[in-house]
Amino acid sequence: MTAAISVTGLTRKYWDQIVLDDVSFTVPGGTITGLLGRNGAGKTTLLRILAGHEFPSSGLVRVLGGAPTENEAVLRRLVFVREDQAYPDIKAGQALRAASWFFPNWDSALASSLLDSFGVRANKAVKRLSRGQRSALGITIGLAARAEVTLFDEPYAGLDAVARQVFYDRLLADFAEFPRTVLLSTHLIDEAAALFEGVIVIDRGRVVLDAPADVLRGAATRVSGPCLAVDALAGGRPVWERRRLGSQASVVMVGPLSQDDREQARSSGLDLTPLSLQQIVVQAAAGVLAPVPEAGFETERTSA
């Protein structure tokens, strides 16, 4: 699959502060990828650079094969929905109409339907919309644009759980009908985890994890039970975390468990709980992620 987004050695400095530090990754075309990380990790700056709103200090950025900066051949095929989007003094419907002029694949019916689903009135001034409604407007533009590359930066700030589910459902439905490349930055990792085919985790300006989501889902398991049984199963294997309370122990084992492992755990009375994507991301951001012996799994920090 060809890369829709390709970033090589990207660095962004503000005076003496390094916001992005030698970032490299690719996002295959026709996939939904999660861009995850803590506040201030550099996600928004990265997305702004991908959208041509910000300039890299050094490095190479390619979106749909071209540099995005001042390149309308790329910009017309890309939409960037940001949490802090500023709008001029216009109505919600006018914002959609303006978007329809710029994006060649714009779907007006989808835009109206989404606005209805989110309960946003088209004749309401954007400045009078609540935070959640403004997010809904941004999501509507992002989805109805049907741009080849869609960048979402925390698109659902202020949205309630029902509206967020509407977003996930409509994104998946429209993605199935009109595949495109989606890069979604979010803090609600477990909520959005089912959407992701790939996951990129950024921490302090560096990519600390870049892996297919399927690989990550089985990448670590919490094993708890009697100390001796836990030690017998985990002995000699990489673990992220080890806890002991009296005769009970709990460890997080790295790597997929075999059928034999599961049989051994069952017979020893051990509990096996796969780590969620969010827990894995937390480990990655904490810098304790060990390499998993699985193809396609890339990490920068390897301390166990």
Partner: protein, 221 residues
Amino acid sequence: MNTWVTVARYQLMRRASYLALLWILAFCFAVGAVSGAGSRYLFGVVLYFAILGMQTIGRSLPFGLTLGASRRSFCSGTALLGMALAVVSGLVLTALQAIERATGGWWLSLHFFRVTYLLNGPWYATWLTSAVGLFALFVYGMWHGIVNHRWGMLGTLAFIAVQAVLVVAGVLVGNLEHWHVFSGVGGSSAGLTALGLTGVVAALAVLLLAGGHATIRRATV
């Protein structure tokens, strides 16, 4: 070019700002008529063009870039809108000037749309001079808006300070000219007609637009 027109349409969405021109014109005319000060109040309309230009940046630029316009196209499309507005407004001023002439100053001997030296010639000169002047003010406002967006209040103050220095230098040069310092080298602005001044303002507008383009090139949103 297509994107320029799209940007111009996008800018026109803030209709209230543009319709305000009519209200300002009516208000200035009323004040001018009542006070008898005439064309002095016409400059209220003219100055509003600079404010309009400033308003086209602000919050319009971030959403414009989100919609996929490049900075260059945003600047050019906005300037295109400014030019169209200036041409139409110039036409309106020319028509009103003709009515003013035909009615003997609105039956009050008022000189509101006839400005001594600047707008007092044939209709085409009035149209050209007013359109070029309004466009220059529009792009001047745009440049201010871009500077403010890029460098904030401090940048705007520095920008104004530089302009103040240039104006002072201009006044000094004007005085030197007055004392015939330049006459020996053949430079003089004496005898410049309204159309000649229009040419100078047109050149200034091009410079202002180039300045705006250069400033927006590295603006971030």
